[in-house]
Symmetry: C2
Subunit: 270 residues, 2 copies
């Protein structure tokens, strides 16, 4: 069995980068010729994988962008295509699921069996019982929301547990309790480097998924300085719309190449 | 346009009860002849709606129990069937979604457009920006997780904001900020009546979805005493597995009749 840690290491090593490409297909923004194909979402997703597969350590297909338009089968085939065309890349289903008991077991089956994702994003609001049914899938990653990149997140994530804010308490519990199988990651937004550095101090070993680079205003190099582990790796820095829907004068490949260059893994430079 | 409040009032009034029936289909537990039908989940769901439709003010189909086995079309047809066969009943898609910006908009479209649900459960961990895209659907309900019924939930839900626990701060903000369209509900578990009463004091007007009656050990009459509004209504008390998979000597209808009787709405008694 390949452990989740081994999958991450392979992704960083083969791609040479900590770039994670988000797949957030929006029908109205899919370009031709894919928009006119019988299955625009699948065709566009595959096109993106073809263009940037060798630059990305991970892909992060987003559930709602498929579910809203009934494109679950496109999502499943997209993930199967990533496993085939970019087998080094870790596939994180971005679904932010969260429930307890048998319902959480069903969400884990949805992510890991039905979609064959390597990892899934989950919401910690329900506590230990909300995470346990995911964590027991020992070779799959469980990516726990910790500190998100939006301003209003502070309402809840800065609530206090003892003398520290909730997001640090989550990070501490992830490092100490939830990571028995070495399969826990944390979501920490790119837009506040100080908080990213705080989370890194509390959870020195855990890999972080860092969204918010690109359209949300986070800077890739700052993220690496604030959030990398001592070994220089430990990050999956995610960009979605900035890559999928490039600004004028740029292309999907050119944006991904630039981000790849800003997110080189240390083992490539060694 | 029928407001969400009017939909709730119609559900309570026509059914005479605050019973919400959860639809958590589990393939291995579906009885014959439904298990042998071409679409076991849809057939079983429709059977339950036929049996208890006139006893329930609401149905709560659970997303993962359909998504794990690729039964999204069964979920959509189940909801359409409820609207047709029990048109008084409010349909709450239990999906506990939570994300920000355009992704949250996609989740709202999934619940309200694709599935035509009257309401959806959402997770507040991302704060205001996580809820706004749902709340702007003014005629649909947004059912915010507040205090869940599992013991480990205290880890996060008892974090402190000022001098009150997070779950009460959520209730306060729901009552004061999120309910501009009168379409907010709170999820408050049945297993701790004292906390249910606290939430009711902070949010006197909001309807509550109360899971945890039946298999999780909550008691229906205690829930009504602790959680009802001043008008005696204001609750959707949800039972799922206790109804769908009745113990020996009971039937789906007999369990639902008993719960219906314990959850009578005051206007029926008046």
């Amino acid at each position: 069995m390949t452990t989740f840690t081994e999958k991450l290491d392979r992704g960083w090593s083969v791609s040479g980068s900590m770039l994670c490409v988000g797949l957030d297909p929006i029908l109205e923004r899919i370009p031709e010729p894919f928009a006119s194909s019988p299955r625009p979402i699948l065709a566009f997703n595959r096109h993106v994988v073809d263009l940037v597969g060798n630059l990305a350590c991970a892909f992060k297909p987003q559930a709602a962008h498929h579910g809203a338009v009934g494109a679950e089968e496109d999502l499943a085939e997209t993930i199967a295509y990533i496993h085939e065309a970019a087998p080094h890349a870790v596939v994180i289903l971005d679904a932010k699921r969260g429930d307890i008991g048998s319902t959480a077991q069903m969400y884990a089956r949805e992510a890991f069996e039905r979609y064959a994702a390597d990892a899934v994003t989950v919401n910690p609001y329900l506590g230990d019982e909300g995470l346990a049914p995911f964590l027991e899938w020992a070779d799959r990653g469980v990516v726990v929301l910790c500190r998100t990149s939006n301003p209003g997140a502070a309402l809840i994530q800065h609530a206090m547990i003892g003398d520290e804010p909730l997001y640090l308490a989550i990070a501490r519990r992830a490092q100490s309790h939830w990571n028995a199988h070495g399969n826990v990651m944390l979501v920490v937004g790119a837009t506040n480097p100080d908080e990213l550095a705080q989370v890194r101090r509390v959870a020195p070993d855990l890999p972080f998924l860092v969204p918010g680079v690109g359209e949300q205003g986070g800077d890739a190099r700052t993220v690496v300085r604030s959030g990398a582990r001592k070994d220089g790796a430990g990050l999956l820095v995610s960009a979605s719309r900035a890559i999928l829907y490039p600004a004028a004068g740029e292309t999907i490949r050119s944006v991904a190449e630039r981000l790849h260059g800003e997110l080189l893994t240390p083992r490539v430079e060694a």
